[in-house]
Amino acid sequence: MLRFFLFINKQGQTRFSRYYNVQLQPEERVLMEADISRKCLKRGDSQCSIFEFREYKLAFRRYASLFFVIGFDEEENHLAILELVHAYVEILNAYFDNVCELDIMFNIEKVHVILEEMVLNGRIVETNKNNVLAPVLEMDKTSK
């Protein structure tokens, strides 16, 4: 099961977070996110992008100044999760047309909704770019 999605920048600021079935108080969450960003920064380019963190496994990729991190349980297919990070970014990239940190900050609700189309209950439900974006684009159309 996936436990959380995080986008954290190099300064350790959280730009996006979504948790699945993780009971944490806000303060604990913030501390954990800071911890994770430090761990990610510490890992060299040549080091493995999957590592253990507390009771979770983390898979992360870096895109420019932003770390995209997924936390998940041991039983998941680690490589599939690592690839999911990229799939998600590709979809964001398609939607925002060259997504950047600001896009994510200013459209946090859309980033959330796109994720909801891909992942529900901590499971990967949909990875087809067209299927993921179709409802979001439709909503954009009707609200204009």
């Binding site: 920048n9 960003s37 490589l79 599939a80 690839e83 060259n98 909801e116 499971r123 990875t127």
Partner: protein, 1035 residues
């Protein structure tokens, strides 16, 4: 600072539909230089929002704006409880789809599933589920996945069930996921839908496949036996996926629906476990899937891993037939390729794949050898802790009586080196070392020494369980009494050694262990008896001695007294002193000691048999009380009424025993109180105020966090550079870079030149671009290109060398092995020692032989393939001319140019079309092929020549594939070139030739060149042509 973020008048803002307040808030937070500054802005914002939200008659669009800001504040860790009710209100009053969706989103983020406010949503959810707009239905279903609770179930159950047959697949998909959620909480509620779900699965609707498979994964995990009949359906789906029957947009980077493949393989694996029939049905298919994935890119690695995991679960009978093949046909041999990779992600894949496979199968399939073993041993010295941990797991898996000494040595070494902060790893190591030493060691002296060593290194981490285990190893009676006594003798000798050291430096767990050993077995060594007893007494009366140690000493002394039937005066004196101890327990024990020391008969009675030698069987049902209860019932006592809360055994025993008396006294307390308690406490903890509603007090900030903030440049949200390049491609490059050292050198130096100082960078929404002038011929400056260059400059300035240039680091481990011959021989020894461990004991000698022979033959096989490519060469040469011919006859250029030329498209549009249509397979091929061809490509770009055909040789496309082929530039736009290419792949193990026509997309940078392969050319051309047509219509 303002130049780094867009201003209000900038186009981002105008088009986004954001309010000014929202914009300013996000900008401020984005620019905050420290956590405190950020907190201050958020606190201000919250005060503002609180005020605003309490005003009457806010329009829903304003409301959405405010709530989105709250989502942001919540994410940053602030208390937004005051806004929860407003989020609910937004859902209730929302008019537009986005407003509704944001409302539901904020509710799912803010509200706990048992939150009292969620009840207020039931009506709205019901209304939306009945809506004719499927997007409203989707919004409600998505929220249900998060918010569904016991009160809601009856209100929405029927509506959600209806949605399983909704005409839109997106609605069906979400409805399935609501049931997925329900299965987690109340599985009994969806039993009757079983048939429906099976129908959906076999219905073959790709739109809901991802969701329904999630559901079945959980079903099968729960009870595989119920779903064995699904195998044909799943096999059928997997075959169709592999044969590309799914619509093309399900492909991801060239692989057909990889996540769906992974899920199906996973379910099949669970179903096939311990089932010979199913195993034999799916065995070949899994191997086939694995083979198909082997040629793919990143996402295929997930499939490969899942295939191996499933293969390892197959029935042994089936697996044997699958892997008893020459190494290149053995599906497991793919692991070697990954183990050998220098890319850590792939190496990690190799290690986790290996850890899924039982060591018995490693040797069975004749692919395993010292080479692999050496790689594993090398991984122990990796700095990368992910690899190290996996390796330790592997060592733990393969341990047996032959290799125990070497493995424990290695583990102890790692334990010694691991930093003390990593408590988890150290603890695990301690447990494992002690466990495997006890299980497999044959040499008693070594065993005792290794236990003591572990205690010495990490005594602080030994918990009671491990310490008991360590004692049990020594004290347990085995079939071989001679050996037992030998072991105990060594244990006593070592224990005495420990006692003779300065006790203040020794961890208490080690002392406890030694004292226990001495108490039990000191009589195995008579000569030092007196000295040891003195030592123990001394230790007992020492100041600040650990209480639990004191207790153990008293017990041990008592045992010795019982054994020797003699209580020396010094013991008595020491014990008497203990009577004054502040600890009740110590007092009690010393008092008992004094009494028992006078009465040896009673003492013998008490101490027999030694409690350490037997494991206690705890009677959890308290059956020994049955008789008592029965008589009590006969005498008219009321039957025990269990209270439905979890309590530990002690209390329940306490409650049960004096049934009659207790019952009278406790008649009153009503059960509901206990029952409802968990719920209320839950709510309480959730709504507990964290730091004041007003949010004025800031949360505590960790020191380390401050440093991480202050050390960095001001927060400048930068461009997310174009993904393909910035992908930080930890995957995708795993070829060797041995040749072309010169080229590499020149590359490195040229990169060094372009490192720009941070001052020359300017921020813009599109990312920062170097100020230096773009070459004038580059008329169309695409954001893509600038993004790439910005990415590159960040990389080089932060001294993260571009992937291409990481070669120097890569070759280092190889040289270090060859130069340090001492290390090598040490490793050889280790590797062969470990190797001997794999497989069963009886086969041991044979397997060593088999292996060394096997490795050699394997090596010579490979040499034959690579070194003497006579057959290879001839075949290549002949196909080469064919390719040359083919490529000349390709109509790509005509087709594309025909459409493209009149359009005068920008590079950006061009890029977009290619990315959208080219089957999404993007792959950077770096290294030799690019370096070799770069000069030519640059030259051609300058000349603008497009009609010359070039050869490229020996480009490697991952692992053991070698490509050879030729390419031709079809189109040049700006600094990018599209080339058509055809190449052959050669697999050194199978000699199979693959012919592919691909498009190469070159992007020239000042210092390097990226080239992206787009495969499936026919499809692309059709798609491009189709897309172009629509352009014409628009024009």
């Amino acid at each position: 600072m303002s130049s780094q973020l867009p201003t209000i008048f900038n186009s981002t803002f105008l088009t986004s539909g954001l309010s000014k307040g929202f914009f300013e808030f996000i900008t401020k937070v984005g620019e905050a230089r420290s956590k405190q500054e950020e907190d201050r802005y958020v606190t201000e914002e919250l005060a503002y929002l609180k005020n605003k939200l309490n005003q009457p008659d806010i329009s829903t669009s304003k409301m959405k704006d405010y709530i989105t800001r709250l989502v942001y504040c919540d994410m940053l860790g602030h208390n937004v409880e005051f806004g929860h009710i407003h989020a609910v209100k937004l859902v209730q009053s929302a008019k537009g789809l986005w407003e509704k969706r944001v409302g539901y989103l904020s509710c799912s983020l803010f509200l706990h599933e048992t939150h009292e406010l969620s009840i207020m949503l039931i009506n709205t959810i019901q209304k939306d589920l009945r809506s004719s707009n499927h997007l409203e239905v989707c919004a409600a279903l998505t929220a249900l996945c998060q918010l569904l609770n016991t009160e809601m179930i009856p209100a929405v159950y029927g509506l959600v069930e209806e949605k399983l047959s909704h005409p839109k697949d997106i609605v069906r998909k979400k409805a399935i996921m609501v049931f997925h959620r329900l299965f987690r909480d109340k599985p009994e509620l969806i039993i009757h839908l079983d048939e429906k779900f099976r129908q959906i699965l076999s219905g073959g609707d790709p739109g809901v496949l991802g969701a329904i498979l999630c559901l079945f994964i959980d079903f099968v995990k729960e009870d595989p036996s119920k779903y064995k009949d699904l195998v044909p359906v799943l096999v059928n789906i997997l075959e169709q996926v592999l044969d590309r029957y799914l619509p093309r947009n399900y492909d991801y980077h060239g692989a057909p629906a990889p996540w769906i493949q992974v899920k199906i393989i996973q379910i099949l694996g669970m179903l096939a476990q311990d089932d010979e029939k199913i195993s034999s049905e799916i065995g070949q298919l899994i191997v086939h899937t694995l083979k198909k994935a082997e040629n793919g890119v990143d996402c295929s690695y997930a499939i490969i891993f899942e295939c191996i995991r499933t293969l390892a679960r197959l029935h042994p009978q089936v697996l044997t037939t699958l892997i008893h093949k020459p190494s290149h046909l053995n599906p497991l041999s793919v692991i070697t390729r990954f183990l050998k990779s220098h890319n850590h992600n792939l190496k990690y894949l190799g290690l986790i794949a290996l850890s899924e496979v039982d060591p018995v199968w490693w040797v069975e399939g004749e692919w395993w050898g010292e080479e692999q073993m050496r790689i594993i041993v090398d991984c122990l010295e990796e700095k990368d802790d992910s690899l190290k941990r996996k390796t330790l797991d592997l060592l733990y898996m393969m341990v047996n009586s032959q290799n125990i000494i070497i493995i424990v040595e290695k583990m102890t070494e790692v334990l010694r080196k691991t930093s003390t902060t990593d408590e988890f790893l150290r603890k695990l190591l301690v447990e494992r070392i002690i466990e495997i030493s006890g299980k497999f060691a044959t040499n008693s002296e070594w065993l005792v020494k290794s236990i003591v060593t572990v205690f010495e290194i990490a005594g602080d981490l030994v918990d009671e369980k491990t310490e008991n285990l360590a004692f049990l190893i020594v004290s347990k009676d085995t079939d071989d009494p001679e050996k037992d006594s030998e072991l105990r003798k060594y244990a006593v000798v070592e224990s005495i050694k420990v006692l003779e050291k300065d006790s203040s430096n020794i961890s208490s767990s080690l002392l406890i262990w030694t004292v226990k050993v001495l108490g039990e077995f000191l009589n195995h060594l008579d000569e030092k008896y007196g000295i040891v007893i003195n030592k123990l007494c001394e230790l007992l009366n020492k100041d600040n001695v650990n209480r639990s140690l004191q207790i153990v000493i008293i017990t041990s002394l008592l045992k010795q007294v019982s054994k020797t039937k003699n209580c020396p005066n010094n013991i008595m004196e020491a014990i008497i002193k203990c009577r004054e101890s502040s600890s009740e327990d110590v007092k009690q024990r010393s008092q008992e000691f004094i009494i028992l020391a006078d009465d040896f008969l009673l003492l013998d009675e008490i101490l027999k048999p030694s409690p350490y030698n037997e494991e206690f069987a705890i009677d959890e049902t308290l059956s020994f009380l049955d008789e008592f209860v029965e008589t009590a019932l006969k005498n008219g006592a009321k039957p025990y009424n269990p209270i439905p809360i979890v309590r530990n055994n002690e209390t329940s025993e306490h409650e049960k025993k004096p049934a009659e008396i207790r019952y009278e006294a406790y008649e009153k307390p009503d059960l509901p109180y206990f029952q409802s308690k968990p719920v209320t406490s839950n709510i309480l903890t959730f709504s507990e105020p964290r730091y004041g509603d007003s949010g004025l007090a800031s949360p505590p900030i960790e020191d380390s966090m401050l440093t991480s903030w202050s050390g960095n440049p001001p927060v400048t949200p930068g461009q997310l550079a174009w993904m393909s390049v910035s992908k930080d491609s930890t995957f995708g490059e795993y070829e060797e870079f041995d040749g072309n050292r010169q080229n590499r050198q020149s590359l490195i130096s040229s990169v060094a030149k372009i490192v720009t100082s941070p001052n020359s960078l300017k921020w813009s929404r599109a990312g920062y671009k170097p100020i230096q002038q773009q070459p004038s011929r580059d008329v169309v400056t695409s954001p893509t290109l600038s993004a790439i260059s910005s990415e590159e400059t960040t990389k080089s300035s932060s001294s993260n060398v571009h992937p291409f240039l990481r070669t120097s680091g890569k070759t280092a481990p190889i040289t270090s092995i060859t130069t340090k011959s001492v290390v090598l021989s040490e490793k050889d020894r280790l590797a062969s020692a470990l190797l001997s461990g794999v497989g069963t004991n009886s086969e041991m000698n044979a397997s060593i032989f088999k292996h060394s022979g096997n490795v050699n033959s394997q090596k010579s096989d490979q040499r034959k393939n690579i070194g003497t490519p006579s057959y290879h060469h001839a075949r290549t040469e002949s196909t080469f001319s064919e390719i040359y011919h083919n490529i000349e006859s390709l109509h790509i250029n005509k087709n594309i140019l025909q459409y493209l030329k009149p359009l005068q498209m920008t590079t950006k549009d061009y890029e977009k079309i290619w990315t959208n249509l080219s089957n999404e397979r993007r792959e950077e091929v770096v290294g030799e092929s690019v370096i070799n061809n770069m000069e030519i490509i640059k030259q051609r770009l300058e000349d603008g020549t497009i009609d010359k055909v070039n050869e490229f040789g020996n480009a490697s496309y991952g692992g053991d594939l070698i490509g050879k082929g030729c390419w031709k530039i079809v189109e040049i736009i700006g600094k990018e070139a599209i080339a058509a290419s055809q190449y052959i792949q050669m697999k050194n193990s199978t000699l199979s030739l693959n012919e592919n026509i691909i498009l190469l997309h070159f992007k020239i940078q000042p210092s390097y060149c990226v080239f992206i392969i787009r495969s499936d050319i026919e499809g692309i051309i059709d798609n491009v042509a189709e897309e172009m047509k629509s352009y014409f219509i628009v024009e």
